[in-house]
């Protein structure tokens, strides 16, 4: 009885989470712009792929996400190692400041960066666009990298590094061969989180993009806030499938690994 109740409850929550998406996707095939079904069509998909603005924003989004997550990973890993070597009070102070972009409301981060970039822009004569968005993204991604790498540093046996030095590695070699290897899982998850956050960010991008640079979330905003736009439905269908495939495969891979590990 209890189990059955649980199952029903679970089904209800899943329906709540998935039905809106399924509805959204179903209507990407609707030949007509209203909620009345007017027959099957693929025209919105064709329109989507032919829309050069959307394609450019997709390209921008991917480039920004890739660059921002790579740079944030490098910056964050180095920072995590350095910060770890500070003592007590100073360290927690630095960590607190570093966490500001995470705990602060996104909109406050957004407007504060906008103030900075407009001010700097007027002083040095540049306009907001690709570079300011990139800087902003690195800024909010790096703390996540630090949060993911720091626990790994704590776990790491520092004698490993010394052993490498004793065995004739230069500090740089020891860093790349031993330290990085030990920290890798943390660095990876930090990178992945940065990448997804950067892909999905709307608020901070909105305030730092200037007025011409478009990323996909901003493009979605312009697409959906004026009119019901079936192209947005088509886009969500594609995003949904991409996300689903990635997650299913990663899940399958990890469960196979689990089995292998069990063997």
């Amino acid at each position: 009885m209890k189990k059955k109740g649980q199952k029903i409850y679970f089904a209800v929550i899943m329906a709540f989470l998935y039905l809106p998406l399924i509805y959204l996707i179903a209507y990407s095939f609707n030949d007509g712009k209203t909620s009345v079904w007017k027959g099957f069509t693929m025209k919105w998909y064709t329109a989507l792929f032919n829309d050069s603005q959307i394609m450019t924003s997709l390209y921008n989004t991917l480039i920004i996400a890739l660059l921002a997550s790579i740079l944030a990973t490098v910056l964050g890993t180095l920072a995590a190692i350095g910060i770890y070597n500070f003592k007590g009070g100073v360290r927690s102070a630095i960590q607190n400041v570093s966490n500001i972009p995470i705990v602060n409301p996104e909109i406050v981060t957004g407007v504060s960066l906008m103030l900075l970039f407009t001010f700097a822009g007027t002083m040095m004569g540049f306009e907001m666009g690709f570079w300011t968005v990139l800087l902003a993204h690195i800024g909010f991604c790096t703390p996540y990298v630090i949060l993911n790498v720091t626990p790994r540093i704590k776990q790491m046996d520092s004698s490993l590094y010394e052993a490498a030095l004793d065995l004739g590695c230069s500090p740089v070699q020891a860093f790349f061969k031993v330290v990085l290897h030990e920290l890798m899982p943390g660095i990876f998850s930090g990178f992945l989180i940065s990448f997804t956050y950067s892909l999905d960010d709307f608020v901070i991008t909105y305030f730092t993009r200037g007025s011409r640079f478009q990323t996909l979330p901003v493009q979605i905003y312009t697409m959906t806030h004026q009119r019901i736009n079936p192209k947005a439905n088509a886009l969500s269908a594609l995003l949904f499938v991409t996300v689903l495939v990635i997650l299913i495969i990663s899940n399958a891979v990890s469960s196979r690994k689990d089995k292998e590990a069990a063997r």
């Binding site: 400041v97 409301p105 860093f175 709307f202 979330p217």
Partner: protein, 263 residues
């Protein structure tokens, strides 16, 4: 490995992209457009106090609903086998990976007049406006943030050792007592991080009210609109919002430190 140097680039970065922007917000909040010191901006903020209250109110309701929905679900997931758990978590994450505007847009399509839900209700003779009110905003928020509430609660619950529960049962606890004495106290850290992760963005979000709400704006929308023509008042509102949110975080943290068993 003992060097603090690797953190230097990031320390500089924090100074330029975290501290300086916030100082600029502070500066703008306390000056007028000629740059002279003034407190008038805060007087203007008081005109929006009801919007603050409304936002907190929406955030509170959404957070409570999320918690009530998520808690039993997280618990029942955490009692499944490892494989099933990771599968379910994956399915919870799929909607989270979709762009947040598209998710809100899905609800616009569903709740709009002559939309599917409205048509259904009309069929049963019920005539109510589904969109353009606080209820619609709350539904949107719950939809956005439910997975974010489930994940941290599930994370702590899945770490609760089954033998603890069995031990409690052996010692004569009935179901309710097991929950009160074992499961609930151990899940508090998860609840706290879940509540924080939901409350902060719901209180400060912008656009959701524009999509789903009616004539009532939320504080995020007001910040964006005021910033369009008055950086000073806008900064003052952002500053107040930041202080409110930080106050909330400190409050939650105290709560957490005292109650949490192991974090």
């Amino acid at each position: 490995m003992k060097s603090k140097k690797p953190s230097i680039p990031y320390l500089g970065w924090m100074l330029v992209f975290t501290i300086v922007p916030l100082l600029m917000v502070l500066y703008y909040a306390f000056t007028d457009d000629t740059g002279a010191f003034t407190l008038n901006n805060f007087q203007n903020v008081s005109d929006y106090s009801h919007i603050f209250l409304y936002s907190l109110y929406v955030a509170l309701i959404s957070t409570v609903i999320c918690l009530v929905l998520a808690y039993p679900l997280a618990f029942s997931i955490s009692r499944c086998t490892q494989r099933k758990q990771s599968l379910i978590i994956m399915f919870l994450m799929v909607p989270m990976w979709m762009n947040f505007l598209l998710r809100v847009y899905a609800w616009v399509l569903i709740l709009q007049s002559y939309g599917p839900l409205d048509t259904m209700l009309q069929f049963f003779g019920i005539h109510i406006k589904l969109i353009g009110n606080t209820g619609a905003i709350v539904v949107g928020m719950v939809y956005e943030f439910l997975p974010i509430m489930i994940l941290p609660i599930h994370a702590v619950m899945s770490k609760i050792d089954d033998s603890l529960i069995e031990a409690a049962q052996d010692l004569g606890c009935n179901g309710f007592y097991v929950f009160r004495k074992v499961i609930f106290p151990l899940s508090v850290p998860g609840i706290i991080s879940g509540v924080t992760m939901v409350f902060v963005p719901t209180a400060s979000t912008f656009l959701v009210a524009q999509y789903l709400g009616g004539d009532q704006l939320m504080i995020g929308d007001v910040i964006e609109r005021v910033f369009q023509f008055n950086h000073n008042t806008g900064s003052a509102i952002a500053l107040v919002l930041m202080v409110v949110i930080l106050g909330f975080l400190v409050f939650m943290n105290r709560f957490g430190d005292k109650e949490a068993v192991g974090r």
